[in-house]
């Protein structure tokens, strides 16, 4: 039997076309997505990930050439759960970001801020049996973009998450608490409900900060759907 679809929570999502974010005007689909009576088991079947390279979750090390990257080292931790609050183990969590000066290594980036020879700005992790992930990185800088005059993206870290199946795909961005540019950012504000979009802001955790080493930010992520694979199955290949 086909599994019934879960459907996305559109009330908890940004507007697909949000005119203040100019790229969305030409690129958002014009028609509403179609509900289906069922999909198939890939809806809640986790794809197979290859073994991640050693140290892939430490962005202060995986781009190292001859020293530490410049910037404020941070721990970035969080838990993945489904809408029912159950942990999502085995999810692929990929992050990418600008360096501390607000510069991405992408070749098409033109912001006149320095590259950091010891910082790549991308990392990956797989959530553990309790649904937790952990990265070490540096706090990214804000960077300018061309959406409008004097447009600055708030400091943010991009997240790509693939949980248990297609229904648990999420691509998002994490922001930092107290960022003064958040009220000016059309991407952050494309989600209309303030209490919903505030889920995108990490929480500073003094409890999990490490003395003489790094601040900790927590970013807990709730994936839509509640079609987690049974835990017994996870133990086979974690």
């Amino acid at each position: 039997m086909a599994e019934s679809r879960s459907g996305r929570r559109w009330s908890d999502s940004p507007s697909t076309i949000f005119p203040d974010y100019k790229s969305s005007i030409q690129r958002g689909p014009g028609k509403a997505p179609i509900s289906v009576p069922g999909w198939d088991r890939s809806l809640s079947l986790r794809p197979v990930w290859p073994q991640l390279p050693e140290g892939d979750a430490d962005l202060t090390a995986n781009g190292r050439v001859n020293g530490d990257p410049i910037g404020e080292r941070i721990l970035l931790e969080g838990g993945l759960t489904d809408e029912a609050g159950r942990p999502v183990p085995g999810a692929l969590v990929e992050i990418w970001q600008a360096n501390a000066a607000g510069r991405y290594i992408h070749r098409e980036e033109r912001h006149p801020a320095p590259l950091d020879p010891n910082f790549l700005g991308a990392g990956r992790a797989v959530s553990d049996a309790g649904g937790s992930y952990r990265f070490v990185t540096v706090k990214p800088g804000s960077y300018p973009w061309n959406n409008h005059r004097n447009a600055w993206r708030p400091a943010h870290i991009h997240f790509s998450i693939f949980g248990a199946g297609i229904a648990q795909r999420l691509i998002t961005q994490m922001y930092f608490p107290g960022d003064p540019t958040l009220p000016y950012d059309p991407i952050f504000n494309a989600t209309a409900d303030a209490a919903v979009r505030n889920r995108l802001i990490a929480r500073f955790s003094m409890e999990e900060s490490v003395p003489n080493w790094a601040h900790c930010y927590r970013f807990d992520i709730v994936l839509s759907g509640s079609a987690a694979t049974p835990f017994e199955e996870e133990q086979d290949h974690d």
């Binding site: 198939d40 890939s42 961005q173 000016y184 991407i187």
Partner: protein, 220 residues
């Protein structure tokens, strides 16, 4: 002010002033419980999500080749372009595919033949998608459920897209009439989900974000 080192690089007229957009108090106030909202992946994802294809130094863990030498099945190539509302091909989209093997079985754990059923391609302007195409080498999937037609699921995301889009790639030679998902799509839009055969084992599947032939996306 202009005697400050470096300040001459900046034109004071370009500073500050009334802002085009302002969402007062954004970033403060309460947080509700629920799913984390989606955001665009932005323009600079290639070095993190599809690094190998673009020559970035992060080791590649996904590719666009799903049909390794040990994988059984009929070899196919699926390529296409993503067109925006103005019909312009998109040069910074990422297409992911997920599919079953030739027998209709998904890879549920690492397999001896190396088949994962999952692949990625970025349509970036300087990598293999320099012509703004995506391309996958894979095998023809089998039907995953009785009565359903074989399909490849595709997930689309790009700069400017605040919520990812999910569609299905069907094949023109298959019996499609009984497929329950196709049946849920208005008849005049079904053709947007069926790839075009452009050669032996070679298919084209274009994705259109707007217009008369706007691709059907599903609410999953």
């Amino acid at each position: 002010m202009t005697d400050l080192p470096g300040f001459g690089r900046m034109n004071p007229k370009d500073r500050g002033g009334p802002h085009d957009y302002l969402y007062p108090d954004a970033g403060s106030g309460p947080v509700s419980a629920g799913p984390t909202p989606s955001q665009t992946l932005g323009p600079f994802f290639a070095y993190g999500l599809t690094p190998g294809a673009y020559g970035y130094p992060l080791p590649e863990i996904h590719s666009n080749d799903l049909a390794g030498p040990a994988v059984a099945g009929s070899r196919i190539t699926v390529e296409g372009q993503v067109f925006d509302a103005a019909g312009v091909p998109v040069h910074d989209a990422m297409v992911e595919i997920l599919q079953a093997d030739g027998q209709g079985a998904y890879a549920e754990r690492p397999r001896n033949d190396g088949f994962t059923g999952y692949g990625r391609f970025g349509t970036g302007s300087e990598g293999p998608g320099g012509d703004k195409r995506f391309l996958f080498r894979t095998i023809k999937p089998g039907a995953t459920e009785p009565g359903a037609a074989p399909f490849i699921a595709a997930i689309l995301t790009m700069r400017g897209l605040l919520n990812h889009c999910i569609t299905r790639i069907y094949f023109p030679e298959d019996a499609l009439a009984q497929d329950p998902v196709l049946a849920a799509v208005p008849e005049e839009r079904r053709r947007t989900l069926i790839a075009e055969a452009i050669g032996p084992g070679h298919y084209r599947f274009d994705i259109r974000m707007r217009g008369e032939r706007e691709t059907v996306f599903f609410d999953v």
